[in-house]
Symmetry: D2
Subunit: 361 residues, 4 copies
C-alpha cells in the first residue's frame, strides 16, 4: 500500500492508520539542505490542531522520528530520508464493526473489495486522513527548500459549509498572505469568516453531521519556464496527482477553473505586458500555468473537499458477510469537517509537486 509520487523528488507514503507506524521515504532531496525541525513541527502543528473544536478528539503528538537522511546538524545528506510517526492511540476495536458494515461514501467497501485480507483494511488502513501527516513531513521539508529558492506555498479555507473567506488576489498573492495565515489559529484570511465557519462546523457536529469545503492554494515566486511541460508533464496534472492523494478531495481547478468554461476568449485571456523588465500578465485567470509550464504569475488552484463521510446518524448500508441490507450508527471519533486540517496537506502536496517539477528542470 506504499504509494510513490514524483520522478526527481520521490515521496513514498507508507503504513496504515491502525498499524504500529506511518511514515514517509523521500528520495532525490538535494544534499546539504538545512531542515529546520522547529519550523517543520510548527507546520505539522497546523495539521494536528489537537484540542480545537473542529478536530478529532484523538490526541497524538505525531512527532516524526528521522531514521536516515539527515546529518547530526540537520542537513540533508543526499541519502533517502526515512521518517516515521508511531501510532500510539489506535483503539482498533472501534473499527471492527466496519469490517462488515461499510460506511457510506467511505473507503471501507472498496478497500474490502480490493485488498487482502479484506478485514485488515477496516477503519482506515492507508485510506485514513492520518496519512496526511507523513505527506506534511515531506511537504514541510519541500516548503523550506522552496523558500530558499524564493518560492512560497500558502493555502487557506476558501469555503466551509457554504461560508466564503476572502479569496487570494490572483495577481498579488504572495509571502504576505502566507505570513498572515500562519499567524491565524483558523486558516482564513478573514477572521470573521473563520468564526462563522467554526460555528457552522459546531452546529453540524451537534446535529451528528459533517460539512465540506474548498481549499485555495497559491505557489508564488516561480520564474517563467522554470518548471512544468507539455502533455503528461504539465503542472496542472502533476499537482492534481499529488492533491488527489488527500482523502475527500473530489475536484481541482486552476485559475478561473470551471468559471472559464462559460467565458469567451476575449474575456478569459490574460494580456501580457512588461513590468520592470519582466513579462507579466495583467490578470491571472490562467492560474500561473500556460501549456503546463509556470508563467511566472502565481500558481493558483482550488480543491473541493466532500463532507466527512463518517457521521453519527443512522445510515443505510449492507452487511458484507450476510449479503443483505443493514443499518449502521457510528460511534467513535471523526472530525465533523476536515477542511481546516487539510489546508497544510494541500500546501504539502503542492510543495512536493512543484519541487519535483523544479528538480526535473
Amino acid at each position: 500500500m506504499a504509494s510513490t509520487y514524483g520522478t526527481h523528488l520521490r515521496v513514498t507514503l507508507f503504513g496504515t492508520s491502525h498499524g504500529p507506524e506511518i511514515g514517509v521515504d523521500i528520495d532525490g532531496l538535494p544534499a546539504g539542505e538545512a531542515v529546520d525541525l522547529h519550523e517543520l513541527d510548527t507546520f505539522l502543528g497546523r495539521r494536528r490542531a489537537a484540542g480545537r473544536a473542529y478536530a478529532t478528539r484523538r490526541r497524538e503528538p505525531d512527532l516524526p522520528e528521522f531514521q536516515s537522511g539527515l546529518t547530526p546538524d540537520g542537513h540533508t545528506d543526499g541519502s533517502r530520508l526515512h521518517a516515521i510517526i508511531r501510532n500510539t492511540d489506535t483503539r482498533s476495536r472501534d473499527y471492527r464493526e466496519l469490517a462488515d458494515l461499510p460506511r457510506p461514501s467511505h473507503a471501507d467497501f472498496t478497500a474490502y473489495a480490493k485488498h487482502y485480507p479484506p478485514e485488515m483494511m477496516a477503519g482506515g488502513g492507508p485510506f485514513s486522513g492520518r496519512l496526511t501527516a507523513p505527506l506534511c513531513i515531506a511537504g514541510g521539508i519541500a516548503k523550506q527548500i522552496l523558500a530558499r529558492r524564493g518560492v512560497t506555498v500558502c493555502a487557506h479555507a476558501l469555503r466551509i459549509a457554504g461560508i466564503s473567506d476572502t479569496p487570494f488576489d490572483p495577481v498579488s498573492v504572495g509571502p504576505d498572505d502566507a505570513a498572515r495565515l500562519e499567524a491565524q489559529d483558523f486558516p482564513t484570511l478573514s477572521a470573521q469568516a473563520g468564526e462563522q465557519m467554526q460555528q457552522a462546523i459546531a452546529e453540524a457536529a451537534a446535529e451528528r453531521d459533517s460539512v465540506g469545503g474548498i481549499v485555495e492554494c497559491a505557489v508564488t515566486g516561480l520564474a517563467p519556464g522554470s518548471c512544468g511541460d507539455a502533455l503528461f508533464d504539465g503542472l496542472e496534472g502533476r499537482i492534481s496527482l499529488a492533491v488527489f492523494a488527500i482523502p475527500a478531495v473530489k475536484g481541482i481547478a486552476f485559475g478561473a477553473g470551471f468559471e472559464s468554461a462559460d467565458l469567451r476568449g476575449s474575456e478569459n485571456n490574460d494580456p501580457f505586458r512588461m513590468q520592470n523588465g519582466r513579462v507579466v500578465t495583467e490578470t491571472n485567470r490562467h492560474g500561473g500555468i500556460l501549456g503546463g509550464i509556470a508563467s511566472g504569475m502565481p500558481v493558483l488552484f482550488r480543491a473541493a473537499f466532500k463532507p466527512t463521510p463518517s457521521i453519527f446518524r443512522e445510515q443505510k448500508t449492507v452487511s458484507l458477510s450476510r449479503r443483505e441490507n443493514a443499518t449502521l450508527t457510528l460511534t467513535g471519533r471523526h472530525d465533523p469537517c476536515i477542511v481546516p486540517r487539510a489546508v497544510p496537506a494541500v500546501e504539502a502536496a503542492a510543495a512536493i509537486a512543484v519541487l519535483d517539477a523544479l528538480l526535473a528542470g
Copy 2:
C-alpha cells in the same frame, strides 16, 4: 518533449504540430488483442470533424500508420506499438510572428521561456491540440480492449457557451448512452442543446471570438475493487493526470465535485444496498470512486475547458525580442471552440488511465 503516461500501460506522445510527424508509442499492451482499424478510424473521425462549422479549416486525413506492434491480421503482438501521423499541411509561416509576440493565455510564452531553441516552439510544438490525435489512437485501442472486458467509456459536451446538455444519469449511465452519442454528429445527448451550442459557437466565431465548455465522461462496467488504490494511486489523481494532458483543460471534478463542498455528510453520502446479489449505491455523488478505488458504480467526471486562446481580435501582448509592450492581431485558422473535438480526447485519456489501472490490478 516526448511525454509518457502510465506504469503498466505506458503511452508516450511525441512530435510537434509543425514537424514532419506526430505519433504515439504504447508499451505494455497485452498480446493477442484484436485492434479493429475501421472502428479506430471512426473514433478518430469524431476528433477530426473536418468540414464541420465548429472545426478548424485545416484539413488533414490524420490517418495513423502502424510501424510496429500489430500482426498482419491486426492483433497486438506484445511489442511496443509505434504509430505515426504525418503532418502534411503545416503552413509554418503562419506562426513566425508568434515567435516574437506570444498569444495571451497560450503556451507561446512559457514554451519560449523553457525550451531550446525557443523559436522552434512557436505556434504549437508539443502544446498543440494536434497531439490529441495520437492520444486518441492510444485511447481508441484502449477503449476496444476495455469493451471486451465489459467496460464502456463515453463522453459528451455537457456545456458550451453557457448552454447545457442533459447530464448523464449518475446511476444508470452506460452502453446505451455511448451508442446514442456515437450516432450524433454533434456530441450531445439532447439534439436541441447541440444545435444551440453550434449556433453559439458560430456567433462567437463571427465576432472573432471563442467559447469554452465542459465535457462529462462516464466509465461504466468496472467491478468493485478492480482498479485504483489509496494515495497517489487513486483513480481520481490518475485520471486527472491523463486528462490535464489535453490542452485547455483547467479543472476536473468527480461525482458531485465542487457541489459536494457545500453539502452536509447526510446529504452527500451514498447509501449502500444489495441489488441482485451485488453491492450498489442508491445515488452516485461519489462518482464511482471511494478511497481512490472503483466502487462498481459508474465512474463520472467533468472536465472544464477554457475558451480557445487564439482569437482574431487585437490583443495586448509583448515583443520578446524588443522587451516592450505590443499588440497582436492573429490571422490563420483556429477552432472557435475545441470542446466538441475534445470529447473523444477526454474518452481517450480516461480509457488509457483506466486500462493502466486495471492492468496494475
Copy 3:
C-alpha cells in the same frame, strides 16, 4: 543512498553499516504468499555465520523486524514490506581514521569523493557488506515464493584461494544439490574442498591477509519462455545488475562464460532434443539463457569475488586532509574471506532478479 532494484518486484535497500538500522522495502510482492520466518531465519543464518573461523568477530543477531507488509499469521498482505535490522554493535570509533586514510581498493575514497558530508561515509556506509543482510531478507522471501512455483535457487563456493569445489552438473543440477548444500556448515559440495578452503582462509588470516573466490549459482525449474526478454530485459543483464550490488563482485559469467570465447560454434552450441515431450538441450553451455530468455535448462552463472580489501598489513595510501602520501595499518575486524558468507547473498540476488522477471511475464 537507498538503492532500488526491479520493475515488478521492487527491492530497496537502505541504511548504513554504522547508523541505527539497515533494512529493505519490498514492493510488488503478490498478496497472500506465506512467509515462513523460521525458514527465513535459517537462510539468514547461512549469511551470519557467527563464530565460524572465517567470519568477522563482530556478533550481531541480525534479526529482522517486519514493520509492515505481513499479516499477523505471516502472509504477505499486498502492501510494501518494510523490514529493518537494528545495528547494535557499531564501534564507529574504529572507522575514524579511515575518514582520512582511505583503505586501498575499498570504497572509502570514492565515497569520500562523491558524498555529502564525506566524513559520514567512512567505514562502510552503504558500501558495507552488512547491506547484504537486508538483501538476503528480500532474497529469502523471493526464494520461498519461487519454491512454491517449482523454482529452486542454490549456490556454493566454487573456488576459494585457488582451491576448487566440484562444479554443478550443468544439465542435472537441481533441488538435490540445494538440499545437500543446506546440510553443510561450509557451502561446498565436496566436504574435503571445504576443509581445504577453510584452512587456506585461516592461513591467510594468520598472515594478516585475505583471499578471494568464485560463487557458482543455479536457478532450476524455470519453464521455457517464462521470463527474460531481448536487449535490456535479458536475464543475464538483469541478474548481473542484482549480483553486482554485492560488494567485492568483479565479474560474472553465464554458462560456459569466458571459456566459450575460445570455442568454435560447433563446439559451443547445445543441440536440442525432445525428452518426455519437452524440448531440452543435451549440454548446457548456454547457461539456461538464450536471447535473454529462460530456455528451460538450469540457469547457471559464476560470480568472481576479489579478496577482502581490508587487510592488516601496512599499506600505502594518502591522507585526504593533508593531500600527501601516507601509510595505513588497519586494526579492527574484517572477514579474511567473504565468499562463504556471500553464497546466500548471491542466491538472494538471483532470486530477486528471477522473481522480478517472472512477475514481468
Copy 4:
C-alpha cells in the same frame, strides 16, 4: 519488444531485424549539444564493416534518419530524439524454416516459447545483432557528449579464436589508444594479431563454423566520485546491464576480474598515492571502480562473446510443430565471428551507461 535502458538518459531500442525499420528513442539528452553526423557515421561504419572478410554478405547502408530531437543545425533540442534505420534487404524467406527448427544456442526457441505470435520471431526479431545499429546511434551520440566532458571510450578485440591482442595498459590507457584504434581497419592494437585473427575467422568460415572472442573496453577521464554509487547503482552493474543487451555476450569482468578471485588482498589491492595534486592508484586491478563509484582511474572491463550460433554444418534440433527430433542445415548469411563488429557496440553500451550515470550525478 521495445526495451529501455537508463534513468536519466533513457535509451529505447525498437523494431525487428525483418520488419520495416529498427530504431532508437533517446530521452534525457541535455539540450544544445552538437551532434556531428559525419563523425557519427564514421562510428556506425565501424559496426557496418560491409565488404570485409569477416562480415555478413548482407549489405545495408544503415543510415539513420533523425525524425525528432535535432535542430536543423544539428544540436539536440531537449526533446526525445527519434532515429530510425529502414530495413531494405530483409529476405525473410531465409528464415521460414527456423520457425519450426530452432537453431541450437540461438534465440529461436526461447522467442518461440515466449512471444505471440511465435512464428513472427523466427530469424531474429529483436534478438538480431542488427539491433546493435540503433544501440550504436545512441552510443555514438553519447560518446560525442562524453568527449566534450573529457571522457574517452574505446575498445578493441582482445581475443578471437584463441589469438590475443596486446591488452590496454590499465593505468595509462586513454585518448592515444582510441586514436590508434580508430585508424585501424581491424580493431586490434597489434596489427599482427589482427591479421592472425582474420585468418582464423576465414578458416572457421571455410569449415562452415564460427569463432568467439573477448572485447576489452576502457572509459578514461572520469573524475573521482563523478558517477556511480553503492548497491544497485554501482557502475559495474549498470554497465553490465547495457553490455548484456548485445547478443552473444556471456560474461563480463571489471579490472582483474576473475583473476582477482585467486589473488590475496595484499596482491590485489591498488595502493593510493598523490600525483600532481590528484589521488591516483599505482596499479589498476580495481578497474577504475570502487564501491560502484568511479575512482578516477580508467574504467576497464572485458566482455566474453560466444561463437556465432548460426553455423552451416548439420546440427541436431527439434521440430516444434511435430514435437520430434530433427536435423538442421542452415543456409543464408551469418557472420562467422561477430566480435569485430561488436567492438563499437561495446563502446556504445559503455558510453550510454556512463553518460546516464554522469547525468544522475
